[in-house]
Symmetry: C2
Subunit: 214 residues, 2 copies
């Protein structure tokens, strides 16, 4: 397997955790999002991924895109350990937590959105950073309420083993800390993150542990 | 089953198509996103859905949130007709198309994002509408390339039967048309939309066919 990744890309980070949890070795192919105007925008990468987004996973002749689709694919092709619970309603709950991060928080703070704010709308850096924090804080506030209301957390978002919910949450907490958000205001999220960082599969997937880390 | 929905909510529209395709009757509970400052923000709805987002599906005692999690849940609990192909790599492809809409286009144009642009950043209506169109046009342009490169379309995004990819795409095309985007520039997307609108399950799920349509 070959993973096109950028050390600080949240979506790549999610898939790296999945690969580590499954014990799957892979070749790491760095794609720099800033250098040379963005290596992801170059024709070579766009031939693989028309959306010019990271990550892309190559398995034999198969090209798999979109982090959540990649994670479901890995879970179907390498079922142990499972990244989703066993009953439909529990699976729906875990997926809903993952999607709260992947659909409601992360896309609005994506690099291309921040560029549009700055270049097209002329938003200054302070307002851009406030935007970034706003969507994480709004999202974490409701996600914390969701986790508490559901009462299903243990060491992780769902019980004591990692699921796709944690694969999405932990990279988002990393982003929050980069922007100096105090996550102790979200005690459940904060606790799950502290637990995950002790886990080898999460630690080895962290941005600072990647070959292209700066 | 009970679906909390708003006629013009894309995420609700996706789930309505799924319910129709599966032939599942449901009670429609309208939640108005504008009236009274937004009925979705009222405590009664937030007790069900802490994120204050539509839709929410109620099945017995189960509360299921996030449209893509709801659709996977319906596909697991009511497998016929399937909304995903049978092989992992084909499933990944279909999910990646769905996620290109659900993660890359739709969230950036969400109502709360548009409100932030206007109220907090002081963006005028013309620039706000240009933002809305920009993310659909950017997304449709890369999605069209993805669909063409994959070469898997038929009547629908994947062959001749609807999948979760179409459930996400068709509501997004509806939004594009609301903002006067000429979708003939994306011939594959345009063709699939034309086909879908002929399909009874899609037609009955359309915003104009809902009890709360204005």
């Amino acid at each position: 397997m070959k993973l096109y990744s950028y050390f600080r890309s949240s979506a790549s980070y999610r898939v790296r955790i999945a690969l580590n949890l499954k014990g799957l070795p892979y070749e790491y192919v760095p794609v720099h999002l800033v250098r040379d105007g963005g290596e992801h925008l170059a024709p070579a990468y766009r031939a693989l991924n028309q959306d010019a987004l990271l990550p892309t996973l190559i398995v034999g002749d198969d090209v798999v895109q979109q982090s959540l689709a990649i994670i479901e694919y890995l879970d179907e092709t390498h079922p142990a350990p499972p990244l989703l619970p066993s009953t439909p309603v529990e699976r729906a709950y875990v997926r809903s937590v993952a999607l709260q991060v992947a659909c409601e928080i992360h896309p609005v703070d994506n690099l291309r959105v921040l560029k549009y704010l700055k270049r097209t709308l002329g938003v200054d850096d302070a307002a851009k950073d406030a935007w970034y924090r706003h969507w994480i804080e709004t999202g974490f506030s409701t996600l914390e309420a969701h986790l508490v209301a559901a009462g299903r957390t243990g060491t992780f978002c769902f019980g004591d083993t990692p699921t796709v919910a944690d694969l999405c949450l932990i990279p988002q907490v990393f982003n929050a800390h980069r922007f100096n958000i105090d996550t102790t205001r979200y005690p459940t999220i904060h606790r799950i993150n502290e637990n995950a960082l002790q886990h080898d599969a999460f630690a080895r997937a962290a941005p600072g542990a990647q070959p292209d880390a700066e």
